[in-house]
């Protein structure tokens, strides 16, 4: 008895959309029960009050906006989204370590489907992070003063930053294959860039030698753009102009292009 090719009629005909959705739910479902979601929410709250309460007096007096809450909330948003990217890195490293990516490659599935599913799950984490950060910001006194379009722009831009950082985290996780090391590894840029940005105090308050770095680093451009889109009750917020939004968008685009390219490099590794 000879076995020929499997007839077309009995061959599995997997749908890419169905596969993407299955893999996405595989990433999202555990976050509800394993404490990841809870850790993310509590982490955002701790960072909000941890920056706001101790620094309100000492730095609130030296910033130009109507309240320190209005000044600080963009940083809280970016930090929360950074945490989401760290979770993405952790999951990606777990998958790389467990060898599931290699198994996926042996399956009848488009090359980019696992990455697309991980990115979708990352965007879910970013949405959670954004909501929690905005609720925290609202409680301490942050408000949107711009037009509806500016507010929508704020949300879309924050999620774009999230996509860029999640791509970075996912790449680091996949490249290192070490879940325990990824979180501390990402803490270095998160904390040092966060402290040496315009997130907590204006650039003029930093020592002269580091001011060029503070002014030009990506986080500062992102914070300026978010601050412009959120507006203020006084005219102290940056204006929504291309000179403010342009560099911020350019940094996000650069992150996304570079990390997508590096992903392709890592994915080709045996």
């Amino acid at each position: 008895m000879t076995v020929g090719a499997i007839p077309v009629s009995t061959r599995a005909m997997p749908s890419t959309v169905q596969q993407w959705w299955t893999l996405t739910t595989r990433m999202i479902a555990p976050t509800l029960s394993n404490g990841e979601l809870a850790t993310q929410i509590i982490g955002s709250i701790v960072f909000t009050v941890g920056f706001y309460l101790p620094l309100k007096n000492i730095l609130g007096a030296v910033q130009p906006m109507s309240s320190y809450a209005q000044y600080l909330t963009p940083l809280i948003v970016v930090q929360a989204i950074f945490f989401a990217a760290v979770s993405a890195a952790f999951r990606s490293a777990m998958d790389a370590l467990a060898g599931i990516n290699r198994r996926f490659r042996a399956m009848p599935m488009a090359r980019l489907t696992p990455l697309a599913a991980r990115m979708t799950a990352s965007m879910y984490r970013c949405v959670v992070a954004l909501v929690v950060a905005l609720v925290c910001g609202h409680i301490i006194g942050f408000r949107f003063y711009g037009t509806v379009w500016h507010t929508i722009g704020f949300i879309v831009f924050a999620l774009l930053i999230g996509a860029a950082l999640a791509l970075m985290g996912d790449l680091i996780g996949a490249a290192t294959k070490n879940p325990e090391a990824t979180a501390p590894l990402l803490l270095v840029p998160q904390v040092t860039l966060g402290l040496t940005s315009v997130g907590l105090q204006p650039v003029e308050r930093f020592p002269g030698w580091i001011q060029p770095f503070v002014r030009e680093q990506p986080l500062s451009h992102w914070l300026n753009a978010l601050r412009a889109l959120a507006g203020d009750s006084t005219p102290a917020a940056p204006a929504v102009t291309w000179s403010v939004i342009g560099p911020a968008l350019a940094w996000v685009a650069a992150f996304i292009v570079i990390f997508t390219w590096l992903h392709a490099v890592v994915a080709r590794r045996p």
């Binding site: 941890g50 309460l53 904390v191 402290l195």
Partner: protein, 254 residues
């Protein structure tokens, strides 16, 4: 073999593994270094204007403690991995003192924290931090983070020994973050809202920072040192039995 020789053998094993993992060592030294510089750049001038004293006398101890606690989580996850690989079970069937496994881990933690504190101190010295009280005080200063850090490590390790999932010990990072944000090493006590000041003054991290401030710059020493010792001893007393039971369980896999 005696307890002492077995413990020192196992301690040396842990320290050798730690020091041969270049990535972990670089990370556990470079992160505090970057953090101290960033903190000094951000708040150095502001704190000095408010208090008239250099912020480094609070931030160098704070960053040493951060190095101690963030390393504790990596170490605890390592213990979970050795449990899951069956290494702890192998040690258990070797005819050695039952206490040597746990003792060696705690001693290794103490050594690790002193190394990190020394490194942070060197970065601080470059930034302008100085000892003005004499050599015995400087030596005591160097040991303060290890006193509380070992108690903290014991807590994280206990949690890790009972947890199946490495996310659980990593969640202790949140507790550590609360201690650091609301400590007198971050900003002076009077900068906190009134209702928060009692917590900020009496939580363990602030006691360690104030003890180290007194030992380096001058000022009250006895009260914060006693506070540090009481907190550490209290934590050790609460955690000792669960830790020992957890280690035994992890070693016997039952």
């Amino acid at each position: 073999m005696s307890l002492i020789s077995e413990t020192s053998l196992l301690t040396a094993r842990i320290l050798r593994r730690w020091s041969s993992d270049a990535a972990t060592v670089a990370q556990s030294l470079l992160f505090p270094a970057f953090f101290l510089v960033a903190l000094d750049v951000l708040l150095g001038d502001g704190v000095e204007r408010v208090t008239g004293q250099s912020a480094l006398y609070g931030s160098v101890p704070l960053v040493s403690l951060i190095g101690a606690t963030s390393g504790a989580i990596i170490v605890a996850v390592g213990v979970m991995r050795e449990r899951d690989d069956g290494l702890l079970a192998r040690f258990w069937v070797v005819p050695s003192h039952r206490a040597s496994g746990l003792l060696s881990r705690l001693i290794a933690e103490g050594v690790r924290i002193v190394v990190i504190t020394s490194f942070v101190m060197c970065v601080g010295l470059l930034l302008g931090f100085r000892f003005t009280q004499g050599l015995p005080q400087a030596v005591a200063w160097l040991l303060m983070p290890a006193v509380f850090g070992m108690a903290f490590s014991a807590v994280v390790m206990t949690i890790a020994l009972y947890a199946q999932n490495t996310l659980v010990p990593q969640a202790t990072e949140v507790i550590a973050a609360v201690m650091f944000f609301f400590s007198t090493g971050f900003v002076p006590l009077d900068q906190f809202p009134k209702w928060l000041q009692p917590f900020a003054e009496h939580q363990p991290c602030s006691y360690v920072v104030e003890a180290m401030r007194g030992l380096s710059m001058g000022g009250p020493v006895a009260k914060p040192v006693i506070g540090t010792l009481l907190w550490s001893a209290g934590i050790a007393a609460i955690i000792a039995v669960p830790l020992a039971i957890g280690y035994r369980r992890a070693s016997r896999r039952d």
